[in-house]
């Protein structure tokens, strides 16, 4: 049985991000072995709290912060910054008030930065390696 934070994930996020965290090609970015990379660049932390799926999630700030932390640790612990500090309800509350209007543009900039820093191979953007239908 799934309970607590995992249950919040399964009911709010899993449909698209999938239980295996692989997402869907060209539609839903993968979380597995990927999403933690955002904690390695300064703008990444805020980015994660301002993407549409997070902003509009039907969860309160506390549970949402818990889901974010759970996803990072569950799907991408290896990529997590060594000095990663877990998200708090307070910062999530503030960040959610400012949804990213141009999410893909911002994301593109962050991905490029990660590629330039050698965190990601060229061509890997979290969509290219997401799960595709057969």
């Amino acid at each position: 049985m799934v309970e607590g934070v995992a249950q919040d994930f399964s009911r709010n996020c899993q449909g698209c991000h999938r239980a295996d965290g692989l997402g869907a090609c060209n539609a839903v970015p993968r979380a597995r072995d990927f999403v933690g990379l955002f904690t390695r660049i300064p703008e990444g932390r805020e980015y994660l709290m301002r993407v549409p799926g997070v902003v509009w999630a039907m969860l309160d700030d506390e549970r949402l912060a818990a889901v974010l932390n759970w996803m990072l640790r569950t799907y991408s612990a290896e990529q997590l910054a060594p000095d990663f500090v877990p998200f708090t309800a307070e910062e999530v509350r503030e960040a959610r008030k400012r949804p990213l209007a141009n999410v893909l543009e911002v994301r593109g900039r962050l991905i490029l930065k990660m590629q330039q820093q050698g965190l990601l191979p060229p061509g890997e953007d979290g969509f290219a390696s997401a799960k595709c239908g057969r």
């Binding site: 799934v2 449909g15 869907a24 539609a27 509009w56 893909l104 057969r134």
Partner: protein, 177 residues
């Protein structure tokens, strides 16, 4: 240009949905819905003790059965919206020949009358073949217009599939909710 592609798909899907099948709502309604605070289904997960607040959700469960998966009141279809794959040559969790399951789904919590337990169900659209048209089962509880996509039904959930053409919807059992 994934952004515009995604947008195109949404628009295509929305209009296709509305045009072809007036109200197929295979949305994540369920997805967020489940959890949503106002939709019936959504309340269920929160209300595991059997304190089901929504009259309509309760009505579904009162009429639910565990024998015939080709009927809309089969228990797994509590958050269904679409044509039943079981009526289209597929199964409860398999797509009919010629169509492929999308990697994405929306999720619902349904009460199984056979054992009184709540289960998490993944509703998965089968895509890549013209619309099946058999056994339409539309859940409209808590539905919102398209500008609230997490609670709107008029979106074919074929994200990540090879084709965005919607055929039918399967209801796979994920586990105990």
């Amino acid at each position: 240009m994934r952004g515009s592609r995604l947008l195109d798909r949404w628009v295509e899907r929305a209009s296709r949905g509305m045009a072809q099948r007036t109200s197929r709502r295979g949305l994540l309604a369920r997805l967020g819905a489940l959890v949503a605070g106002g939709a019936l289904l959504p309340l269920l997960p929160v209300d595991r003790s059997g304190r089901i607040n929504s009259a309509r959700a309760q009505a579904f469960f009162e009429n639910a059965q565990a024998e015939d998966p080709t009927a809309c009141n089969y228990w797994r279809y509590c958050a269904m919206d679409g044509y039943l794959c079981t009526c289209c040559g597929g199964g409860l969790h398999t797509c009919p020949p010629g169509s492929d399951p999308a990697p994405t789904s929306w999720v619902g919590s349904c009460l199984n009358p056979a054992d009184g337990q709540l289960y998490l169900i993944a509703y998965r659209d089968c895509c890549g073949k013209g619309v099946c048209g058999q056994c339409p089962c539309l859940s409209t509880e808590g539905e919102m217009p398209i500008y609230r996509p997490q609670l709107s039904n008029d979106i074919a959930w074929c994200f990540g599939a090879r084709s965005m053409v919607y055929h039918c919807t399967a209801a796979a059992l994920v586990g105990r909710a």
